[in-house]
């Protein structure tokens, strides 16, 4: 049985890539965000996960409006990052785990999720930057499974549907016969808005509420309609869906190992959260 050892949620704004490229990690503007990854690095060094399941939203690199999936899952042995048009460095290709991808797809379709399975899938900054933050040398020690949630074209799936998606991913991972240690990522958010005369909107109160609820009462977040989330968190605040799905995939008792909130990074309420998942936590408690 595979072992879901924890969940990591982080903002993924493209300018993180620019800051890394320019070596600005200790610049006061960026330092609180990058410092959050000290805890993550310690966790990764201790736990050495084998697989990262990355739940994120594609920003117009792999999917276009010609055929826009609600939920898509990569099923390849390799995922390439690529130019997104604004000059952040392209990262080395990521190893996939096609057998696990197909297992997840089988399990989700069996659970009445209508997945788009992708044997070709470019991964954008929302996938690549969190992994670069986790592994700054870009020598990826994990195999990966990309899972995207439509955040571009309404209708978007509801928070409740994304929570259920996450739960179904969690069940799929628990039924995987391999022995891999798996970490689940949710990337995006928190509050931000890029478009319209409300551009630049950030809602610190709501972000802090989300950071609490996602750990201690995630079901509370599934009560919000998409309209409410956009009102409260801005039009791109819907990326919260990826956090909710990540949290849904943690099936056991969850403990918070780290939480950072820092405003702004770029136009965004920057946040990093590390959660340990129950089976592992229990095992350590018993040691």
């Amino acid at each position: 049985m595979a072992n879901v050892i924890g969940g990591l949620a982080t903002s993924h704004v493209p300018s993180i890539g620019g800051a890394i490229a320019k070596g600005l990690q200790q610049d006061p503007y960026w330092k609180p965000f990058f410092d959050a990854f000290d805890s993550i690095h310690a966790f990764l060094e201790r736990e050495k996960p084998d697989v990262a399941v990355v739940i994120y939203n594609d920003h117009g690199l792999s999917h276009f409006l010609d055929k826009m999936p609600t939920f898509a899952i990569g099923a390849a042995e390799e995922y390439k990052n690529a130019d997104e048009g604004w000059g952040i460095p392209v990262l080395p290709a990521f190893p996939g785990h096609a057998a696990l991808s197909w297992h997840i797809i089988e399990s989700l379709v069996n659970d009445e999720f209508d997945i788009t399975s992708c044997q070709e899938h470019l991964v954008d900054h929302a996938f690549s930057l969190p992994l670069k933050l986790m592994y700054p040398d870009a020598k990826w020690p994990v195999r990966t499974v990309p899972i995207t949630i439509n955040s571009v074209q309404h209708p978007l799936p509801s928070a409740l549907r994304c929570w259920k998606l996450g739960q179904a991913i969690g069940r799929a991972l628990e039924s995987w016969p391999g022995a891999e240690k798996i970490v689940v990522l949710g990337t995006g958010g928190l509050s931000h808005q890029l478009d319209g005369t409300r551009a630049g909107f950030i809602n610190k109160d709501f972000d802090l509420l989300c950071l609490d609820k996602i750990v201690n009462d995630p079901v509370a977040l599934t009560k919000y309609s998409n309209k409410e989330i956009i009102e409260l968190a801005g039009s791109q605040g819907v990326e919260l869906m990826c956090w909710i799905a990540m949290r849904g995939a943690l099936q056991g008792r969850v403990s918070q190992l780290h939480s950072t909130y820092h405003v702004p990074i770029s136009n965004t309420g920057g946040a990093v959260l590390l959660l340990e998942n129950a089976p592992r936590a229990q095992a350590m408690a018993a040691e």
Partner: protein, 114 residues
């Protein structure tokens, strides 16, 4: 449904917008590739014609005005790739849309974190 939410200052990209903006967004999606960005820069009119942009969309591209591009059906995720051609960040386009100077827009972001 989603298009009738009327959240102040907040465009919602639903089916109506997707239909209206298809050609514009498809062109902007092509800007993932440097060769296409260069081709656009070399001949804006020719490139827009290739993607069958409407007159409204052509005028919006010519204006470099994000609100006008959104009104012409543009989706911010694809428009960001257009903005990238000119080295404009999401803070630049935020300042433009809100009518603030870049410094004031940045200050507005900082204030919200306090």
């Amino acid at each position: 449904m989603s298009t009738s939410w009327n959240i102040p200052g907040t465009p919602v990209f639903g089916g109506d917008e997707a239909r209206k903006g298809y050609a514009l967004n498809k062109m902007c999606f092509s800007f993932n590739d440097k060769a296409n960005r260069d081709a656009f820069k070399a001949d804006e009119d020719g490139y827009m014609a290739k993607y069958n942009l409407t007159d409204e969309q052509k005028a919006a591209i010519g204006s470099r005005n994000v609100l006008q591009l959104i009104a012409a059906g543009g989706n911010v995720y694809y428009l960001a790739k257009f903005a990238g051609i000119f080295g404009l960040s999401v803070q630049d386009i935020g300042a433009q849309q809100t009518g603030l100077s870049l410094d004031d827009f940045k200050a507005h972001l900082v204030t919200q974190g306090q």
